[in-house]
C-alpha cells in the first residue's frame, strides 16, 4: 500500500465539500473514466468576489479524492485572482506531500481549478481543452501541459514527468519526445535516463542497420501497438527499405490521423536513418486497420 500522510488519509476517509453547487459561478471538469481519474469542481462567489463555497466530485484513487477535498478547503475565502495562482505544489504541500507516483493527482486538481476559473471568466467551456500539440496519445497530454509541470516542479527525468502528468505512462511511445522537451527546458540539468533509446549512428553497416531497426521496433514501436492489441513484425530489410507486417488489431488506437506505416516510418527515421522507407507486406496491407476514437 502507498505511504500516504495522515492528512491524505483523513481527507480520503472524511472528504469535505462533496457534491455539486447548483448554479455555480465557475465549473471545471478534467479527466475521464478511461484515464482512471476525473474531477468536477464547482465554486460560488460572495458579494466581495471571494470564493464562498467550493464543491467537488471525484472518480479516482485515495490521493485523487484527498487532493480534491483539500483543494475545496484551500479555495474558500480566496479571490479568483488568488485562486488562479494556486499551483499543484501548493496542493501537495497542503497535504503534507504525496507519493511521487501520485503527484499527477495534484496536477489534476490544479487543472480543474483552471478550467473552472476560465469558465467563470469567459463563460466558456467547462471541460479543459487540449491546446496545442498532443504528445501523449494514451492520456491526452499536450506539449504545453508537459512544459508546465516541468517548469513548476523542476522536473528532470521522463519518469518524473509521468508521475506528474501521466504522459508516457501508457504505451511509452512518447518517452523520446518527452525527453526532448526536458532537454530543451532544463538543458544541463536533464539527467541521462533514457539510456534504452537507440541512438542514431553515423554510417551503419547493413547488419548494424538491421539490428537498429529491429531494436527500434522492439523498444519504440511494438509496446505502443501491443498496448492496443496489435503487433508488428519486421519481415525484411533491403537497403533503406524496411518491410513490415502488422498483426492483431489496433482497435483502441487513437492515432486516427496517421496510418500505422507513417508512424513506424517516423520512428525509424528518428532512431535509425532519415532515408528509411517503410513498406507493408502485401498481405497485411490489405487488411484495413480499424482505428476508433
Amino acid at each position: 500500500m502507498w505511504e500516504y500522510t495522515d492528512k491524505v488519509k483523513e481527507h480520503f476517509f472524511n472528504p469535505r465539500n462533496v457534491g455539486e453547487i447548483e448554479q455555480p459561478d465557475g465549473i471545471g471538469e478534467v479527466g475521464s473514466l478511461a484515464c482512471g481519474d476525473a474531477l468536477k469542481l464547482t465554486f460560488k462567489l460572495d458579494q466581495d468576489g471571494r470564493i464562498r463555497d467550493a464543491k467537488f466530485k471525484t472518480f479516482g484513487c485515495a490521493s485523487a479524492i484527498a487532493t480534491s477535498s483539500v483543494l475545496t478547503e484551500m479555495l474558500k475565502g480566496m479571490t479568483v485572482e488568488e485562486a488562479a495562482k494556486v499551483t499543484n505544489r501548493d496542493i501537495a504541500d497542503y497535504l503534507g506531500g504525496l507519493p511521487e507516483q501520485k503527484m499527477h493527482c495534484s496536477v489534476m486538481g490544479r487543472e480543474a481549478l483552471e478550467a473552472a476559473i476560465e469558465n467563470y471568466r469567459t463563460g466558456g467551456r467547462k471541460k479543459r481543452k487540449l491546446e496545442g500539440k498532443v504528445v501523449c496519445n494514451c492520456f491526452g497530454v499536450t506539449e504545453r501541459e508537459i512544459e508546465r509541470v516541468i517548469r513548476e516542479n523542476n522536473l528532470t527525468t521522463v519518469e518524473e514527468v509521468t508521475n506528474y502528468c501521466k504522459a508516457g505512462g501508457g504505451c511509452g511511445g512518447c518517452k523520446g519526445e518527452i525527453e526532448k522537451i526536458i532537454e530543451r527546458l532544463q538543458g544541463d540539468k536533464a539527467k541521462e535516463v533514457f539510456a534504452a533509446a537507440p541512438r542514431k549512428g553515423g554510417r551503419l553497416t547493413n547488419i548494424q542497420k538491421i539490428q537498429l531497426i529491429q531494436r527500434t521496433i522492439n523498444e519504440q514501436i511494438r509496446p505502443a501497438l501491443r498496448a492496443h492489441g496489435g503487433d508488428i513484425e519486421l519481415i525484411d530489410v533491403e537497403g533503406d527499405k524496411a518491410m513490415v507486417a502488422f498483426r492483431g488489431m489496433c482497435a483502441q488506437c487513437r492515432l486516427t490521423e496517421f496510418t500505422m506505416k507513417d508512424v513506424v516510418e517516423a520512428k525509424l527515421r528518428e532512431f535509425v536513418s532519415e532515408e528509411i522507407i517503410v513498406e507493408e507486406e502485401g498481405e497485411s496491407a490489405q487488411v484495413p486497420h480499424e482505428h476508433r476514437e
Partner: protein
C-alpha cells in the same frame, strides 16, 4: 503460512544447520530432510521425486523453464504464450524478442478463455516452446492444460505451464499428463516465501539456468534454502490433505461472497469464466469507482483484497489481463480480487458482504459519473 509448516522449519535454523553437501553427520541429516520434501512435493502433483527441482521462487522456476528450454533447442526460434500470463513469463518471453525469437501471444475471449484452434494453427516446426499458465492469477480462470499439453506435445515442442496459482487448489496428476515443465511457488500454498519448484518431466531437455554447483543433480546450482524446502514439503503434504476441503468449503464461501456482492452492489460485474475457475478466487468490477480507493476502505475494516486498477500497481494502465479480456477501461479501473483460503471463516465472508455495499455507495457518492 501454516503453523505446521513453521514447526517443521524451526529446527533447521539452529540445531540442524548442516549443509546437505557436506560429508559429515550434520550434512547427512539434512540431505534426508530434503529428500523427504522432494517426495512430499512429488506426491502432491503425481510425479517422481527425481523430477522435482527446488528453486528460489516461482519466478525463478519460470525463468529457468523458458530460458532452459530455448537453450536446449537452439535451432528453433518461436515461442507461443498468452497475453494474460504473469509478468514472470510474459516479460521473459518478450525479452527473447531481442535475441531473435518470434513471440506469439494468444488472445483470450471476454471470459478469459483461449481459442485452442488458434493455438493449434500457430504451432509449427520452428516452435521451441509453448508456455501457458494453468490458472490465471487475477481472475482464477483455469485453462484446459492437459488438453493443451496433448495438443502441442505431439508436435515436438516443449510445453511449460506456470501452475503457481493452481497447485494445491486443483488436484494434479502429472503421471497422466504431457506437461514437460511446471512451476510452483511456496507461498501460494501456505508454504514459506523464497522457495519454489520446477517440475521437469523425465527425459525433457533443459539447459541449467544457475551454474556453479552440483546441487539438484546439476540442474540448479546454489546452496539449498533448506528450511524453505522442508517447509514447502510440509505445505505440499497439507495441501494434499486439504485439497478436497479447499474445493468444497472454500468454493462455497467464495460463491456466497461473490453472489451476495453482485446482488447487493448495482453496476458490478464478474470478470472471468465462471465454469472453469479456481475455487478460491473472484474478480469483480465496480463501475464508476476506482480500485485503490475500494481497497483502502476495505483495509480500514481489516479486509484485505487486491485490485487490477492502475493506481494500485504503480503503473498508470489497468491490468493487462482484464484488458486482454476486453473489459472496458471503466470497469477495469474498479476491479477487486478476493482470494480465499482454508483459513477464512464464514463470519469473515459475512462481514465483507456487509461492508462492501457501504463502501461502494460511499465512493459512488463522490463520483462525478454517478447521477444523484
Amino acid at each position: 503460512m501454516a503453523e505446521e509448516v513453521l514447526q517443521e522449519m524451526k529446527p533447521l535454523f539452529c540445531e540442524l544447520y548442516g549443509n546437505p553437501s557436506s560429508m559429515h553427520t550434520f550434512g547427512g541429516q539434512i540431505g534426508r530432510r530434503i529428500h523427504k520434501a522432494r517426495e512430499q512435493v512429488a506426491a502432491l502433483i503425481g510425479c517422481g521425486p527425481s523430477e522435482i527441482i527446488f528453486t528460489s521462487c516461482g519466478t525463478e522456476s519460470d525463468n529457468t523453464a523458458i530460458k532452459g528450454a530455448l537453450a536446449a533447442y537452439p535451432n528453433k526460434r518461436k515461442i507461443i504464450t498468452t497475453r494474460v500470463e504473469h509478468p514472470a513469463v510474459l516479460a521473459v518471453c518478450r525479452e527473447q524478442e531481442n535475441h531473435g525469437y518470434t513471440v506469439v501471444e494468444l488472445g483470450v475471449d471476454d471470459k478469459g478463455r483461449l481459442d485452442l484452434a488458434q493455438l493449434e494453427k500457430e504451432v509449427d516446426d520452428d516452435t521451441a516452446l509453448v508456455t501457458i499458465m494453468y490458472a490465471n492469477n487475477e481472475t482464477g480462470v483455469v485453462f484446459p492444460i492437459d488438453k493443451i499439453a496433448e495438443l502441442v506435445i505431439g508436435r515436438g515442442v516443449v510445453f511449460h505451464t506456470d501452475a503457481v496459482q493452481a497447485v494445491g487448489k486443483i488436484a494434479l496428476d502429472l503421471s497422466n499428463s504431457n506437461i514437460d515443465l511446471l512451476s510452483i511457488s511456496g507461498h501460494k500454498l501456505h508454504g514459506p516465501k523464497g522457495v519454489g519448484v520446477l517440475y521437469v518431466r523425465k527425459g525433457t531437455r533443459l539447459a541449467p539456468f544457475m551454474l556453479g554447483g552440483h546441487q539438484e543433480a546439476g540442474r540448479r546450482a546454489g546452496t539449498e534454502n533448506v528450511p524453505g524446502i522442508v517447509g514447502l514439503g510440509k505445505a505440499c503434504e497439507l495441501a494434499a490433505e486439504n485439497i478436497v476441503q479447499e474445493n468444497e468449503r472454500v468454493g462455497s464461501l467464495r460463491d456466497k461472497l461473490e453472489s451476495a456482492i453482485l446482488q447487493k452492489c448495482p453496476d458490478s460485474r464478474l470478470n472471468g469464466d465462471k465454469e472453469n475457475r479456481l475455487p478460491n478466487t473472484t474478480n469483480i468490477s465496480f463501475e464508476y469507482i476506482e480500485g485503490e480507493a475500494i481497497l483502502l476502505m476495505l483495509d480500514k475494516f481489516g479486509i484485505c483484497a487486491s485490485s487490477g486498477s492502475a493506481c494500485t500497481s504503480g503503473s498508470l494502465e489497468p491490468s493487462h489481463v482484464l484488458r486482454a479480456m476486453g473489459v472496458p477501461f471503466t470497469a477495469a479501473h474498479g476491479s477487486i480480487r478476493f482470494s480465499l483460503s482454508r483459513y477464512n471463516s464464514e463470519e469473515e465472508v459475512d462481514y465483507t458482504i456487509e461492508k462492501m455495499p457501504e463502501i461502494v455507495n460511499k465512493l459512488r457518492k463522490l463520483s462525478p459519473f454517478v447521477a444523484k
